[in-house]
Each structure stands twice: as C-alpha cells, then as structure tokens.
Symmetry: C2
Subunit: 213 residues, 2 copies
Amino acid sequence: MDKSALKDLHVLIDHVGPLRPGEYVFREGDPFNVIAAVRAGTVKTSLLSRDGDEQVLGFHLPGEVIGLNAIDGERYPCDAIALDTVMLCQFSFPQIATLATRLPNLQKHLFKLMSRDIGSVSLYTGNRSADERMAAFLISLSRRLAARGFSPRHFQLTMPRTDIANYLRQAPETVSRVLRRFERDGLVRIKLRDVEIIDMDRLETMALTVLRY
Amino acid sequence: MDKSALKDLHVLIDHVGPLRPGEYVFREGDPFNVIAAVRAGTVKTSLLSRDGDEQVLGFHLPGEVIGLNAIDGERYPCDAIALDTVMLCQFSFPQIATLATRLPNLQKHLFKLMSRDIGSVSLYTGNRSADERMAAFLISLSRRLAARGFSPRHFQLTMPRTDIANYLRQAPETVSRVLRRFERDGLVRIKLRDVEIIDMDRLETMALTVLRY
DNA sequence: CGATAGGTTGACGGTTCTCAAGGGAGGTGG
DNA sequence: CCACCTCCCTTGAGAACCGTCAACCTATCG
C-alpha cells in the first residue's frame, strides 16, 4: 500500500467514543453508511422481535469489525450496543469501496473480513450440549483477547448472564449452573464477571466439538 | 457494465456438471480457487468432525453462490456435496477479484453477496422450537424456489430427513413427527420428499419468529 | 441505607433425544 | 417380473437435558 493511499484511508476514518454502556452504535433499520472497528470495549449485536424478546447475534471485541452484514440491504439488519465503555473507528463504506478499486490489497482485506464473518457466524449453529457451547464461548473469548494482547487466562465478562444465555441458546439459569459446575470441576474460577481459566487444556478439549480447533 | 467487461466476465466462467448425487463440488481443506453458482439442483455444505458426525451448514439452490466462506483461509472450510443432479458455473476468484477493481458494480455485487451470506447464516441461530424452525425451513425453501420461477406451493425435498434434522438441530425422528403433525393440522401434505403447502399463511406465521419477515 | 439490577439455587415439568422396531420405496440381479 | 436388499422414513416408549417458575441472595450506586 503506497503512501498516498494510506493518506486517503486516513481521512476516511472517524474516531467515535467513548460510548457508555447501553449506548447504540447503530440501530436496526438505520440507513447503512459506515462500518466500524472496535478499538476498545465490547459491542453486542442483536435483534429485537416484535414482542420484545431479544436475540443476541454476537459480541465484538477490540480489533473486530461490525456493520458488514448491512451492505446487502443498505440498512443495518441488527442493533449494535455498547456493553461497556467503547471506542470505535468508523469508515464510510461507499468511500472505502471506491478506494478499494484503486487498492487491490484493501479490496482483498475487505473480502477476507467478510468471508471470515460468514464462517464465524456458523460456529455455534451445531447441536451441541450446554457444556460444550459454554466451553467454546470461554475459549473463544480467551483466544480473541489474547490475539489483542490481553491475558488469555484472566479476563472480565463484559456482558450479563442473560446475554450469554441468549447467545448460547440457553436459559440464564443454565449458564449460571454450568459455570458453577465448571468451577467445582476445577476448570475455571468465576466471581460474577471475573473469569480465571484454571485448566485451559480440559476446557479446550470440551470446546473442540464446537470450535473444531 | 460495459460490453468489453461482460466479455471479460464471460471467459472466467467455467460450466461444470452434471454432477451426480453424492459427488463433491469441493472438500474441506481443498485449496481455494473458485466460487460457484448453482445453476440446477441442490448443493449441501457440511462439516465432518473427527469422530465422523456431520454438521450441515446449508442447502444451496439454483441462483445461489457457494465458496465465499473460503476466501479468508484460502482453503474451503467445509464440504460441498451434490444432493441430486447438479449443474454449476465456476468462477476463478482471483480473476474475478482483479476484474472487480475495474468494475465497481461487480465489486459491489460481490460485497452484497457476501454481506447477504453473513445475515442468512444467522437466521437459524435463535433458540426457537422444533415447529418454528421446521416451518421456517419450508417457507425459506418455498420462497427461494419461487424466486427462481419454481412453484412455491409444490416442490421436492432434495435431501434426506437426516440432513434436514441435522441442519435444524433436531433428531431425524423429530423431523418426521413434526412433519406428520403439520400434515394432521392441514398445513402441508407430505409424501416422502414431495411437499405441498396447503396453508401458506399459517405456515408463514409460524416461521415469522425465525425468518422475521 | 434502601433500591434495583443481576446472579444463584431448588423443584418441577416439558420438549426433544435416544433406543428399538417395523414398514415402504426403489434399485439390482436372477 | 419378481425377490431381495438397502436406504430411508415412521412410530412408540422411556429418559434426559434443559427450560420455567419461584424465591433468595449479592453487588453496586445514588
């Protein structure tokens, strides 16, 4: 990527935040303009049905991009909500797409980002047990945080149990019980939202059927 | 799109088929080269775990594109298998990506295709009942077939019950029972793989919690 | 210090899975 | 043309996992 190109990219970036817990990055139905990279904090994406019940689609950590599922319909198909204090970089998608025609590497990067999203969404679709899905959830968080330089063994859950439960297709009570059992079995230590992974190997083994590696 | 561009696109197309039931379009781990549009028949994408059990990711009907989830890893992350007699158009992805830098509309089209895939994968992730998921499955097939000019009320299931069950996170026995109950309730008429939708409205209402519209 | 949201725990019940057996449909070979 | 074989589908009985309901507990914060 040459210098003038990098400069072009720079002027497209819009730094946003800090957002407070509960603030919306975008709402379902909003006209699509920008994609956003999480710089700090956690963003939850979710759908709200007519009768008010929520479906959590994902949790997005620093380094991850949201909004790519809005390109097709030209409106955001879900809500994106800050779970804690969130910092973002926003990019005008029309502008970045135009720029991508001049920068094959940028185009390739965008294709890859979207391709990865297709795959990651299908991770939890399998018919696995509550234990396996929970193990996969914890291992996935651990790995993604590690990739950004955070500790893979000790981190905070930035979301309430109800959101975890919803994401994993479980009742909040089940989440609570599974976590407590993991603790009794010496896999983790958990105090409210503080997670410490004790036996990474065993947890990864449990997660394997969901994550595949 | 101008004429010379269309010509460029044309030379990239590789017509493949007919494939017989059970033949592979690609296998997990194969190096990624091409994306493929289904022209006729149904393609199943699925993952095979180490201990041999399958996870069905999707069924792909005429007009739908497969292989987009392979861009990121440069290998196909799943198997793609013909369920009946299948005809395909294959496109060299590197070539089409290069061409897309010259054709903004083509680039936009690719972005949209991938964006749509991200959304459609997350359709069945919700924690809905066996009945709702089955209704959504039938309505989804109906609509996608209608979009290609086939009858929305009368069509063939091209896959065995085990594949439907796997896709919907159910036991094959549950699929059978739910379909039989739908029939008793006057929603559909089903004889093995022949499906006739009797009460489209009621079926769509059931599917609404999954499909959202 | 009280209020509120979030988390835990127990008892119970239901949806769905598992196991087991039986019944076609379609293909192949005699 | 029929017999047999192999999938595939269906049906029933029982069990298990997990959801629901209810109550209680615990942080956190104004």
